[in-house]
Amino acid sequence: MSTVTADFLNNTQEQPGVRSPLVLGRHDNTTVTERICQIAESPKPPRAWYIAISISSSFTLMLFGLIGYLVTTGVGVWGNNAPVFWAWDIVNFVFWVGIGHAGTLISAILFLFRQHWRTSINRFAEAMTIFAVVCAGIFPSVHVGRVWVIYWLLPVPNQNAIWPNFRSPLLWDVFAVSTYATVSLLFWYMGMIPDIATFRDRATSRWRQVVYGVLSLGWTGSARQWHRYEKAYLLLAALATPLVLSVHTVVSFDFAVSQVPGWHTTIFPPYFVAGAVFSGFAMVVTLMVPARAFFGLKELVTLRHLENMNKIILVTGSMVGYAYAMEFFTAWYSGNRYEQFAFINRAFGPYAWAYWTMVTCNVISPQLFWFKKVRTTPWMMVIVCIFVNIGMWFERFVITVTSLSRDFLPSSWGYYKPTFVDIGMFVGSFGLFFTLFLLFCRFLPIVAMAEVKSVMPANHANEDH
């Protein structure tokens, strides 16, 4: 006990009857504002930021170069071919959409459950949601092949005088993902308005005044504004909660509504949602640990925050492991030989390497979070979380590719291999993600200042309740 309490940054012990503080150190409204604003206000970002963004933006350039190559040449530049017509494009799409779910979960579901510890990480996680959805949206958009007629997916009049087919889960997906992107973006922006107003009021240069002035829409923080703002925030949280559950449910319908063995199962929606939260939290931890060290946020994003997220990873990881087991049980119990073959083929067929990578990363590695030491040591949790992210990518690969490569007609069986375009676009999507993220860290409030202030004990001193 004594060794741990000596480190004032460690707030992970449970003391009966005492609530662990959400903000450590001698922080008040002034220092919180200073600490967060200085990240965006320092005249020059640190050298590491320049190095990081030059690397990530060159990967982004590669991504757009490859998209240009794909659009001008055709989707044949990918490794997708009969019988595996869905491969890395869909895998990457589901992977990135899943990553995004943690942000909405933290900002909406934890808000509804009055989990105040979310306040210092929610902005960060919401930004991650937006950028992950941007990366996700690229893959299905270019995989349609003729991107210039992609508006055929929307219910707008077109030259063929026909309407989209609303009975297809792929169209539901268009609506679900675009609604999700729109609502997440607005939710994120609305949450930032008071903090951007802080930036505006602290701005020293004219261009910062104008840009942040326009973005903050003239916010003055009046009690009447706050009243409606808080109500709107609550309503949006209540809307975003079923939305986030519906998005990955609809994504899973892309698979589950088809007849392909290994896809046609009712367990998919809950299993996909759990996997999405699992991978999303792992990504938040992976990014948060270096960011809090880098930007000096250890007192706001405390070890307890990280530990709480690791606990959620442990829970959702166990749910995912249970789903894997249940899939096998269902295949056996169904008595359907095609279903049984699909799962035996997954575990022991030509893609067994991918399957066991997935099981190792997703089922075994999060179990390390039963140990408090692993849960509260930043470098250890980052390693586990990176494994989780690898595992979750492989989960989508295993679901998509193994089922398609060996379906009902053995004469058409094949083995999928990616091309350099597949690999380059996946790597490039990480470049885009990190580029957007670094820009966010440099120019926008990365911690919700107003929300953190509202949970600080000093601001509740004179209340009657």
Partner: protein
């Protein structure tokens, strides 16, 4: 009630409106903590002020009760928008897939609630979320970029770490001195005045309005051009910005290719193979012949030999159509014994003879055959009559079905004629399916029989109907 602060003239009663001087919009007081501002707010409210507000860097717990802020009607906006989202989504899906462009997909109903639910759900969320945010901003009077409060240097900390109470000059009991006194009684740490710029400076910037007008005009150009193109016609081929799959690196029929030794792009059938569905082992059904290997070979030879002299050459020669016809007759050798006469044609139908087949045959006959052969099979169809009227020399009048020769022909031979053509008549194999050909033959047989029938061939209960037929 929003937090907007409108300027009020300094001495409104005693002086005429002076546009050029700044106007006092509000007085503000600064407080160091949420607790202090909450206490002060109670005092201000008790003093009877009505147009005032509290500004804080975060929402202060309990401030609504202290200030008497009534619950916002925002949730009703959200509810209404959500209901509208569901309605719009269901109507859209029903109309687009069920009414305007219905098409079958995997046997699903054109419109059904289970398949419509996901889109209805998503649009409900989308509509509700957009209206919630828009409603929040509008009710709050945002965006509002010009606010007299921003004229106070100290007020800038209202979004960081200070708490303010502002009394608007629009308050009916507003008086500068009274307001300042009220603030100092609340132990405000600082007091400031917010001035609105004079009316002359509050105009919309000229450069900005000019730029907006130019932008608006430029934005009109594309839709106008599109509308112009859509409403006019042109003889030029339409502009095709993206060629899609119009030009593909592929071989078209009858082209040469260096890929194969024979130089042909079209590939002949691999010998010894039969395409799927092309086996046609049932000789009676597909050839109209009793089974037997020898017969097939003979017929195959027959089909490759030229059946008639090359007519085209004759047509190009001098003389009218009549001459041609005469020369055709002159050229022809004395007719040899027709090898078709000695084939083992089937004499019974290889398909079920039912009234359904007969109906089908009648329908197909009237579509494909009657134009030349006539509705009754006399060889006097409309095309034939027209050709004879025009004295078309190359036209050969179809033989009437009611000649003894044709009446005696076995059904297999008729099948052969439809399938492979006879004299000028081309093959109808591509147009009429095998079953339909047999149905047509059945109908032709019925036509032949009807021509030579009398009352005793008709079932007695149908005879009365005959009398009712109109007499010609």
């Amino acid at each position: 009630m929003t937090a907007t602060i409108a300027p009020k003239e300094k001495h409104h009663a005693s002086h005429p409106v002076v546009d050029e001087s700044p106007l006092l919009a509000a007085v503000i007081a600064e407080f160091p903590s949420a607790g202090a501002v909450l206490t002060a707010a109670k005092t201000i409210r008790q003093a009877g002020w009505t147009d005032w507000d509290v500004h804080s860097p975060f929402p202060i717990h309990g401030i609504d009760d202290v200030m008497g802020i009534r619950p916002t009607r925002l949730p009703w906006i959200t509810l209404g928008a959500g209901a509208m989202g569901i309605t719009v989504a269901l109507l859209m899906q029903w109309w687009m897939n069920g009414v305007d462009y219905p098409f079958w997909i995997s046997g699903k109903p054109f419109f059904g609630l289970p398949a419509a639910a996901p889109v209805a759900f998503e649009l409900m969320i989308l509509f509700a979320a957009l209206s919630t945010i828009a409603g929040m901003l509008l009710l709050n009077g945002l965006p509002r970029f010009s606010n007299p409060l921003f004229s106070s240097e100290g007020f800038r900390r209202a979004t960081s770490d200070r708490f303010f109470i502002c009394i608007s000059a629009r308050d009916p009991m507003f008086d500068r001195e009274v307001a300042l006194k009220a603030f100092s009684d609340c132990h405000a740490t600082a007091i400031d005045e917010c001035w609105a710029p004079p009316a002359s400076e509050r105009k919309f910037p000229k450069a900005l309005s000019l730029a907006l007008m130019v932008l608006f005009t430029l934005a009109l150009i594309p839709p106008v051009l599109i509308a112009q193109k859509r409403s006019t016609t042109t003889t030029e081929p339409r502009l095709h910005a993206i060629s899609d799959m119009d030009f593909q690196p592929k071989f078209k029929p009858q082209r040469t290719s260096t890929l194969f030794a024979d130089g042909r792009a079209m590939r002949p059938q691999v010998s010894g193979t039969v395409a799927r569905g092309d086996l046609r082992a049932d000789s009676r059904l597909f050839k109209g012949l009793e089974p037997g290997p020898k017969v097939h070979r003979t017929l195959a030879l027959l089909q490759t030999a030229p059946a008639t002299p090359p007519v085209a050459r004759l047509v190009s020669a001098e003389g009218g159509p009549r001459d041609v016809a005469e020369r055709l007759v002159a050229l022809a050798d004395p007719p040899p014994a027709d090898p078709l006469d000695s084939q083992p044609w089937v004499t019974s139908f290889p398909v079920p003879v039912t009234s359904k087949t007969m109906k089908r045959g009648q329908e197909r006959y009237n579509i494909y055959c009657a134009t030349c052969h006539g509705l009754a099979g006399d060889g006097d169809g409309l095309v034939t009559r027209r050709a004879l009227e025009l004295e078309q020399g190359t036209w050969i009048k179809p033989t009437t079905f009611h000649s003894d020769n044709l009446r005696a022909q076995p059904v297999g031979r008729l099948f052969h004629s439809i399938t492979n053509g006879v004299r000028k008549m081309p093959s109808y194999a591509d147009l009429v399916s095998v079953e339909d050909r047999w149905a047509i033959i059945l109908y032709v047989k019925a036509l032949q029989q009807a021509r030579h029938a009398d009352a005793k061939d008709i079932p007695s209960d149908l005879i009365p109907q005959l009398r009712d037929l109109p007499k010609e």
